[in-house]
């Protein structure tokens, strides 16, 4: 079978077919529409912008229109890249071979609210904040809470298998999706749930659990066109408490004690290392007044019924004090916690080695690492980053966070984040390659410490993707390749993403 390892450009004929299938007004070829959908906020090789710009943007409104687009893509052998909010930090929505950019934002309808069975069924182009505004009068809540909460979109959350700030209480995206409607790369429309096909059943043992296969694919296996989601009672009470420590080691031990407390209302435990506190003291009004003796911070948050939250707060405070934590006050705790739902509002700037301020974009490394390895990975990642800063001078170390990562419980593994500023305007091919090499070193360290490359964004970028076959070396990546070829025989859906061009490596190439 002929496939595409070098994809075809989108021809005028293909564009005419798209216009006929879904209507001319939903097919955009102007430069503005294409430029706006070329990159995401993550650091980007701006000197190679044109290589990633899609040929055409389509804005379908239904599963049937998505199906028609994918059938046309197969007919003309052209790539299709699905895109939701474009807020992902791992380039899942960035075209690697131009092609058709399938923007799902017009599929933003709420299809059914079932208060009896506590589900809501939506199209994937809806934003969580808007959904929760709709749900609020009914006293229910969809608790998927990324740092991009006001601007990211449900389809993107499913495509990346997103991580939620309050996931240790409510679960993450994959735990909150009950069933899906998916359009396969060849255009068939299927309904998938937790085994069987019942769209509102959370736990079934009938057949394969195919739903999870389509969560976190970065749009390489299908396009989600409908999702039935879990609803919770809107929390009666929230309480955030931030504690300061005189050393990272003390804060690390306290993190372990807090996260294993067994408190059912505990939604998050977040450890800030010394470099993060140093960075915040430089640039964040809440942390600037902190005395120098505070070297590390642990943030916690409780959600639930008020009586439970009050009781849990007392236990939390007791544990923090017993592990040398000092409460950082109501203003910092409540204010910083509220701002964590929206980290994308932060104006981004960084410092050159001489302290001068320049605009910088934000790299957020997001490995999943088990608790025992956190101190070692912290040391290695900082050593790597500082070495590149010293040599190239256009990166800035913004410190590290360690977020509880296990759904419904605080212990176990952590989303380990090092934030690095990058002065994009100064990038050229040499410094971009240096950046990719920095990432590669970080990824190697992750794998050496039994970690996974990504906890929440995906492993799509250069510096990550080439290590997927390494992380999944015990047969997992071979299976991924077989599944990709089976479902996408012409390699039209987000081709080459997740290093899956290897799925077609032994095929004949038909440009």
């Amino acid at each position: 079978m002929a496939t595409l390892t070098v994809p075809n450009p989108v021809t005028d004929k293909a564009i005419a077919a798209l216009e006929q299938a879904i209507g001319k007004e939903k097919v955009l070829t102007d430069v503005g529409a294409r430029v706006a959908r070329t990159r995401v906020p993550a650091p980007f090789p701006v000197h190679r912008f044109a290589e990633h710009m899609p040929d055409v943007v389509v804005l379908p409104e239904s599963a049937e229109e998505v199906s028609a687009i994918l059938r046309i893509a197969n007919q003309y052998r052209v790539p299709v890249v699905p895109r939701a909010g474009g807020t992902g930090l791992a380039d899942g929505a960035v075209p690697l071979h131009k092609g058709i950019l399938l923007d799902i934002k017009k599929m933003n309808k709420i299809l059914e609210l079932d208060l009896v069975n506590r589900t809501v069924t939506v199209q994937p182009g809806l934003n969580m904040l808007k959904l929760n505004e709709y749900l609020a009068p009914y006293g229910v809540f969809y608790p998927d809470d990324p740092a991009s909460y006001p601007v990211s979109i449900i389809g993107g959350r499913i495509g990346t298998s997103g991580w939620s700030l309050i996931g240790s209480r409510y679960g993450h995206t994959r735990d909150l999706v009950i069933s899906l409607q998916v359009v396969l790369p060849t255009g068939e429309i299927v309904r998938l749930s937790d085994g069987g096909g019942a769209p509102k059943v959370r736990k079934a043992s009938t057949g394969y659990n195919l739903k999870q296969l389509f969560i976190g694919t970065q749009g390489t296996l299908g396009v989600v066109t409908e999702a039935t989601l879990e609803l919770f009672p809107k929390p009666e009470a929230e309480l955030a408490a931030f504690f300061g420590y005189e050393s990272f080691e003390a804060a690390y031990r306290s993190t372990g004690a807090l996260s294993t407390s067994g408190l059912g209302t505990l939604a998050a435990v977040i450890l800030f290392d010394e470099r993060k506190v140093e960075y915040l003291r430089r640039d964040d009004e809440a942390y600037i007044p902190l005395p120098e003796r505070i070297k590390a911070v642990v943030a916690t948050a409780l959600y639930g019924v008020e009586e439970e939250v009050r009781a849990a707060a007392n236990r939390l405070f007791k544990i923090a004090r017993e592990t040398d934590g000092e409460y950082l006050g109501d203003e910092l705790s409540a204010g910083d916690w509220a701002s964590r739902h929206d980290r994308y509002a932060t104006p981004l700037h960084g410092r050159l080695p001489d302290g001068t301020v320049v605009p910088m974009s934000w790299h957020c490394e997001d490995a999943a690492i088990i608790y025992s390895e956190l101190p070692a990975i912290k040391q290695k990642w900082h050593e790597i980053t500082d070495r590149y800063i010293q040599k190239y001078g256009i990166f800035d170390n913004w410190g590290m966070f360690f977020y509880s990562n296990n759904p419904y419980k605080g212990w176990g593994d952590y989303l380990v984040e090092i934030d690095i500023g990058i002065w994009e305007q100064a990038l050229n091919e040499e410094t971009w390659q240096a950046w990719v090499n920095l990432k590669r070193e970080i990824t190697r360290a992750t794998l050496e410490h039994q970690g996974s490359i990504s906890a929440c964004h995906g492993a799509c970028r250069e510096g990550d993707a080439e290590f997927i076959p390494v992380e999944m070396a015990e047969g997992g990546f071979e299976l991924m390749k077989r599944i990709k070829r089976l479902l996408d025989p012409n390699n039209i859906l987000n081709p080459s993403k997740n290093f899956l061009h290897l799925a077609y490596a032994d095929e004949e190439v038909t440009p």
Partner: protein, 78 residues
Amino acid sequence: MKQVRKGVVLRREDLHVFEVDPALMTRVPQDVTDAEQTRIVRNRWEYLDWMHRHFAHNTLLLSAVTEAPAHGPGQSAH
């Protein structure tokens, strides 16, 4: 304007506004008026209050529920 630590100045005590030392801002100079700064700060607090209400019916503070002090180290009432 008062230097509070290396690279940071306190610009508005009334609104708790700190800024990067202007000496470090030569590549990206910013000129924000006091009125505009007041608007930004107040809108930010309003937004964060809204965010609390959006996620829960009631926001509890640790100092109200336990014997924890309301003000942390380095903090003062605003």
